[in-house]
Each structure stands twice: as structure tokens, then as C-alpha cells.
Symmetry: C2
DNA sequence: CCCTATTATCTCGCCCGACGAGATACTTGT
DNA sequence: ACAAGTATCTCGTCGGGCGAGATAATAGGG
């Protein structure tokens, strides 16, 4: 076992402190989403779905029911139930595919976007303000670290 | 509306890019935990419980069933079921409280710690290696940003 | 020291999100 | 036009989490 590995597991080195900090951030962001969910009578999966839909929308892509379910790791039955819930709550609407009429495109209602902005806006503003206090090199470090961790977490297996 | 706010909502400014990056990191860390869960036949809640138990253990604290449930937002029935599952799978053991015999202390089995290290170790090593490439000022920026976001996400409401 | 109030956990019955299997509707290739 | 393939939906079931209440142990007033 190398010296570094011993330090990782045994002592709170300066790097490990940041690793735990990042985990804490992930946990708190999760809690923050959960509060949004509970406040609007949604389930965690519903929030994940809305976020996925808005991400796709921002990238200019249409999201079908199947693609949404796949992104969330649900099977077709669960996907139908999910879209049913979101539609019943007025957060999305089903639109039959124009070219391929088997498909169902799920579109986010403006009302849901507004609710999301209302809840996550202050936190985003706060983060942006924080970032405005750093210079280019510091921003590059933050960006580089986050990118590295994201890619490592995403690609590590399978 | 100020110039900054227009940029936040409308355009992908340099700050918003990092904000989305942070969210992506949170999502990927969640997926990574989910893979660990599925691989060992656990539910997301079980993983959260193990992490909470190990955090407490690292801080030298004994965790009772009640405290564990409160940390996860479960009621007593759910907590009992959770500890039942973890105990049946051999990840924890129940120990009757020494001083107060009503309490049940939940202790993590070494086997579970080893499984966790096996799964999360490589990712942690990768993050530590990344961090070793930055100087003090860059590390301070990363630490400062993460701390700020964590506190904002945790304290924003209620 | 006993009796009541309080605390910690567990048991029981229910709800509902997610799954597997299969039905239905539409499209594509021959 | 027909068979094979694809996208979504329906039905029955499983299981995590909840509310209500039972049980066991501690703490406090008389």
C-alpha cells in the first residue's frame, strides 16, 4: 500500500477534505431537490424527469416517452405511469409524434419551468455570485476538477 | 432586471457553465451510488444508510436506529425495515444499548466497509490525484466554491 | 419504592411507485 | 399487402415507506 493510499483511508489530508466536501455538496443538492419535490407533491423520480426534460429542451431536443424512461432507468410501464402523474399534475403534456405517430413527445409546461426557476433560482444566483469572485485561473481549476470528477464517475465502469 | 440576471437565465455565461457542471457532477455521483446499490442488491436508501453509518463511525460516534432513521427522513416503521434488510444482508448488526437498553446501536460490518472501499476507492483516488495537480490558491478556490454552495443548498430555506 | 409519563423500537395493515409480461398501434422492409 | 419490428400502454404483482398502535425500558413525582 502506497503512502498516498494510507493517507486517503486513515487521515484527513487536504485532498480528502475536498473530496468529502464534494460529497457533502452532492448530498445537499439532493436534499434541496427533495424539498422541491415534497413542496409540490412530487416524487424524486418526477423531479429527475423534469430536469432531464428541461435539459433536453435547452439543448433544443424533443424528448419522447421512451427516451425519458431510458434516461431515468425506468421500464415502459413505469415510464407511462410517470408521464401520467406529471400530466395529471399539469407539469407536462403528451404530443403525438408528428413524423412517427407511434411516438409520444413529452413537452414541459411553462408553469413547471417557472416553478423550477422559483425554487432553484436563488441557489443558482448564489453560486454565480460566488464564481464572480474568482479570477480566470481559479475558475479554470474549479472547472477542471469538476469535469474530471464528472467524467470519472460517469465512465468508471461498463 | 440587471445585466447579470439576463445572462444567467438567457445565455450560457462562464459562470452558468460551471453551475451546470456542478449539477452534472451531482447527477453522476448519484448514478455511481446507484450502480453500487444495484450491484449488491441494495436500494438507494440502504446505500445512504451505510454512508451515514460510516460517516458517524469515522467521527467516532455510535448510531442508534432512531438517529439513523432521522438522518434519512424515515419514520420508525421504515427504519426497522431498513435495519432488517441491512442486517439480513450481513452489512450491519444490531447491538442492544449498553447503558439504555431501549436503544439499538447499529454497527457496520467490516465486510460492508470493504465493499464500499472497493467500489468508491478508484473514484476517490482519481479525485485526489486531480487535486494534487493544483497549487494552494487553486485548492482554496475549489474549497471555497464547494463550501459556499453546500451552505447555500443546506440553509436556503426553513 | 410504586405508578405514571416518556422514550426507543417494533408490528400490522395500507398505499403507491416500479417491475415483468403481454396487448395495442403504428411503421418499415420485402 | 403482409410479416417483422418498434413505441407506448394495460394489467397483475412486489416491496419500500407511512400511520397507528403495541411493547419494552427509563425517568420522575409522591
Amino acid at each position: 500500500m502506497s503512502r498516498e493510499q494510507i493517507e486517503e483511508s486513515a487521515g484527513p489530508g487536504p485532498e480528502m477534505e475536498i473530496v468529502h466536501l464534494l460529497r457533502a455538496v452532492a448530498v445537499e443538492l439532493g436534499r434541496h431537490s427533495a424539498r422541491f419535490a415534497q413542496r409540490h407533491g412530487l416524487h424524486p423520480t418526477d423531479v429527475r424527469a423534469l430536469i432531464a426534460l428541461m435539459d433536453a429542451s435547452r439543448a433544443g431536443e424533443k424528448t419522447t416517452a421512451g427516451r425519458l424512461g431510458a434516461a431515468l432507468g425506468l421500464n415502459s410501464a413505469g415510464t407511462t405511469a410517470l408521464v401520467d402523474r406529471l400530466e395529471r399534475a399539469g407539469h407536462v403534456r403528451r404530443v403525438r409524434g408528428a413524423g412517427d405517430r407511434r411516438k409520444v413527445v413529452v413537452e414541459v409546461e411553462q408553469r413547471a419551468v417557472a416553478l423550477g426557476r422559483e425554487h432553484f433560482g436563488p441557489l443558482i444566483d448564489h453560486a454565480v455570485t460566488l464564481l464572480q469572485g474568482y479570477d480566470e485561473r481559479e475558475l479554470a481549476a474549479i472547472r477542471g476538477f469538476l469535469t474530471g470528477v464528472r467524467d470519472a464517475a460517469a465512465g468508471e465502469d461498463e
